[in-house]
């Protein structure tokens, strides 16, 4: 069975990478928000699903192509991110105690789950585009076009965020704040502005993940928590604080999950994911790529 179909295994590997890239961009958002504010934004998954529904509505009600809706949805996401910070997390982010912000994030998650259940019902939804089943054939392997596009978008988003953090002054301030917030305020940098900005990017990345999710899989209101936990695992695997590492952590997680499913079944795959998570925490708490990449977030 193992050597039965090299082509099929290759396909599983590629799908793992594609799937993992979504975990990856979700993990980058978590990493940024944790880096500057020390907030574990567990609602990230629910937010991703919310944007998947936005995409779904724009497509079903207005007939807007999902990839075209990327731009307005990301813009809205940046606003929502800024609003989330100023509206809900500003006070909690300033506290030494991290329980407050975690509770708020849990509250946001439950609110969104229930809100989405009311608006869109608990039934799974999916976007069916005319090109959704189009597949690319490459050396005997088949890939659906939308997944390949998803991977490309995720990779571009990662590069864009990493470049932005590296090259701009506000990006440099974000990296500095994730090292030492107090020292940035002594440079005249307003922590609120840096935090709001970081939150906006984190939620913007959630929007990109949401659109990728909407175009490649079916989703329901409760799908988010699983996604958020996987993103946390990806972050732990890759290493907190580095954009490239978080992305790679997602890809590795996707590979473990899909290869595990292929070889030993879906239930075991989930157990393996968390076993690897625990092993990584134990033996490489700084992440597999801690120190390997330079784009610190």
């Amino acid at each position: 069975m193992i050597l039965g179909d090299i082509g099929l295994i290759g396909q599983v590997v590629v799908n793992g990478i594609l799937f993992g890239s979504m975990y990856g961009i979700a993990a980058i958002g978590l990493s940024l928000i944790f880096g500057t504010m020390r907030i574990v934004f567990i609602a990230q998954g629910a937010v991703i699903v919310l944007f998947a529904y936005f995409c779904f509505w724009l497509f079903n009600l207005l007939g807007i192509d999902p990839y075209l809706s990327l731009i307005p949805i990301v813009l809205v996401a940046l606003l929502i991110g800024t609003g989330l910070y100023y509206g809900l997390f500003r006070e909690a982010a300033a506290l030494q105690d991290r329980i407050g912000s975690l509770l708020i994030a849990v509250g946001v998650m439950f609110f969104l789950e229930n809100f989405m259940t009311v608006i869109w019902t608990p039934n799974p939804r999916a976007i069916v585009t005319s090109y959704g089943f189009y597949t690319l054939n490459l050396i005997g392997m088949h890939f659906t076009l939308v997944r390949v596009i998803g991977l490309v978008i995720a990779a571009l988003a990662t590069i864009a965020v990493a470049t932005f953090l590296k090259k701009t002054l506000i990006g440099t301030a974000v990296r500095a704040a994730s090292e030492d917030v107090e020292a940035t305020s002594l440079m005249g940098i307003n922590p609120d502005r840096v935090n709001a900005f970081t939150f906006a990017i984190g939620i913007g990345l959630a929007a990109i993940a949401g659109i990728t999710l909407a175009t490649t899989y079916s989703f329901d209101p409760m799908y988010g928590i699983d996604f958020a936990i996987k993103a946390l695992v990806a972050l732990t695997l890759g290493g907190i604080g580095r954009v490239g590492a978080a992305f790679m952590g997602g890809i590795i997680l996707g590979l473990i999950e899909l290869l595990g499913t292929y070889f030993v079944g879906a239930a075991w795959a989930q157990a393996i994911v968390f076993a690897v998570f625990l092993l990584a925490l134990n033996f490489r708490p700084q992440g597999l790529f801690g120190g390997a990449t330079s784009e610190k977030a």
């Binding site: 440099t172 990296r175 090292e179 020292a183 305020s185 002594l186 440079m187 005249g188 940098i189 307003n190």
Partner: protein, 238 residues
């Protein structure tokens, strides 16, 4: 220029500063000396807005500071080089300097300020693309001060700039403080190295368990018997 009046600062239930009054004249070097735990760092942290006083006021160039946020105080022209330098270790030397000139007033002068810093510390120019964390202790202290200069401050507050430096760097540090002062920057200096600090200071204040117990011209305090016995005597006998 800077007027601190009757400042009471508490950490929770513990009072750290009691009715502290200090004044800093424009263009001068003022030293703040005293034993560990006397409240010197607390006073600097209160001036820069990291701590809120319970009573008293801080006035800089006729503006009250004690109600302002740290980032706004920087924009008034006060920069605080904290104890332990607090550089961004994962950022390059140049990135650290860039953030030093972050305020709207300093940002347009970034290139000019950078030239000034490179002139003061040529080694920083050589190491501009290196991560700050990879610099030696002395170089890190240079970067910390260089980063402060980038903000085009009127007043620089230095907390223990000579701490942990080799004797050569300590001497260079005090020379640098004099150089900056010649460039019309007012200096408020906290130092363990009391002898050197008093020698360079125009005015000095002695803090003891949260209170100002003595003040005067630097050389006067340096000649004072009590001071010599309490703070300098130990060092001389080494």
């Amino acid at each position: 220029m800077l007027e601190v009046k009757n400042l009471d600062v508490w950490y929770g239930d513990v009072q750290v500063l009691r009715k502290v009054s200090v004044h800093v004249d424009e263009g001068s070097i003022v030293a703040l000396v005293g034993a560990n735990g006397a409240g010197k760092t607390t006073l600097l942290r209160t001036i820069s807005g990291l701590l809120q006083p319970r009573k008293g006021e801080i006035v800089f160039a006729d503006k009250p500071l004690h109600t302002m946020k740290p980032q706004d105080i920087v924009d008034q022209g006060i920069i605080h080089v904290p104890e332990g330098r607090r550089l961004f270790a994962d950022l390059t030397v140049l990135e650290n300097l860039r953030l030093g000139a972050y305020t709207p007033t300093a940002r347009p002068f970034f290139l000019e300020s950078m030239e000034r810093v490179y002139k003061l510390f040529p080694v920083l120019k050589e190491r501009k693309d290196q991560k700050a964390g990879t610099l030696s202790g002395g170089e890190q202290q240079m970067l910390a001060i260089g980063r402060a200069v980038m903000a085009r401050p009127k007043l620089i507050m230095l907390d223990e700039p000579s701490l942990g430096l080799s004797p050569i760097f300590v001497r260079a540090m005090f020379e640098l403080i004099a150089t900056l002062n010649d460039q019309k920057v007012t200096i408020l200096l906290v130092e363990q190295n009391i002898h050197q600090a008093l020698k360079i200071a125009h005015q000095a204040f002695v803090l003891k368990i949260g209170k100002i117990v003595m003040s005067g011209k630097g050389d006067e305090l340096l000649a004072d018997k009590e001071i010599r016995k309490a703070y300098i005597g130990e060092r001389a006998s080494k």
